[in-house]
Symmetry: C2
Subunit: 163 residues, 2 copies
């Protein structure tokens, strides 16, 4: 199997024309496994976010029209996030996202899972903000640490049969 | 009272830099009245949409993290819409919006109510789409009829003391 085109480290890029951030990452997984990793409360808890933070999920109703809320904690403090699930279907999740520390900022996130064949699935996500300033703040927030750490933990859960 | 600057017919304009549509409309109302018009199920039913259509609200949970779904009907057919309420607070409502006939299209709507003094309140809304094509389709959909008709009905409810 050629691995030349494999995206094992997430690409995180500003869209050229809309105020969004695009993410691409391949996993050794089926679309159904990635769907479960994003919708099963206990699985999500085990991979989401940076390595040095604990997550406490307070609300989790991963269905079309549902809602979510969690808090992450490290030595420096506590960071809350919340949103609603606009659509939850096996190949696509659309949800809103707000960091409590910037309560008027809202991103609309669309995550898709595409079967690449040979056991791999490509995750593509768009975080759409309502201004380029908000998008650039999100890009500068250090969130890539949580993305890379989280997906590496997800790789581990897939490899050890947890999902 | 000068009425020179009063926006009695909604302005509906494409944003110059992001794939959004901006709406502005003034009402003889308090922010609290406009908030109720947008969150109370029975009131919303009485003003939303074009004059020649009936609305049937199927799901209505107007709170942060809640969801909504309604169907409008006319002689030609039935049109379903749904979304979730990301945030519901007295001066601002953030919600998602999808037309069932175009299920992969999602708009993130932010509606704010600003007290202008002298009994008037300005409604400002942004419908943010994930592409300029989607935004332009929404602009070309004829939705301005529903906006203008709906706000005129809302004027009537405010004038007759229903709200």
């Amino acid at each position: 199997m050629s691995t030349d085109a494999r995206v094992t480290v997430a690409t995180i890029e500003a869209d050229a024309t809309i105020p969004g951030i695009r993410f691409v990452r391949d996993f050794e997984a089926t679309p159904e496994q990635l769907f479960r990793a994003h919708t099963d409360r206990d699985l999500f808890l085990r991979w989401n976010g940076p390595n040095d933070m604990d997550t406490d999920i307070q609300v989790w109703d991963a269905r079309t029209g549902g809602e979510w809320r969690y808090v992450t904690r490290d030595d420096r403090g506590e960071y809350g996030f919340h949103g609603c699930f606009h659509e939850v279907r096996t190949d696509r999740i659309v949800q809103t996202f707000t960091y409590d520390g910037f309560p008027d900022g809202v991103a609309l996130e669309t995550i898709t899972f595409t079967d690449l064949g040979d056991g791999r699935t490509r995750l593509e996500a768009l975080s759409l903000c309502d201004s380029f300033e908000g998008r650039d703040m999100m890009l500068a927030s250090g969130m890539e640490v949580g993305v890379h750490d989280g997906y590496a933990k997800l790789d581990g859960l897939l490899a050890d049969g947890s999902i």
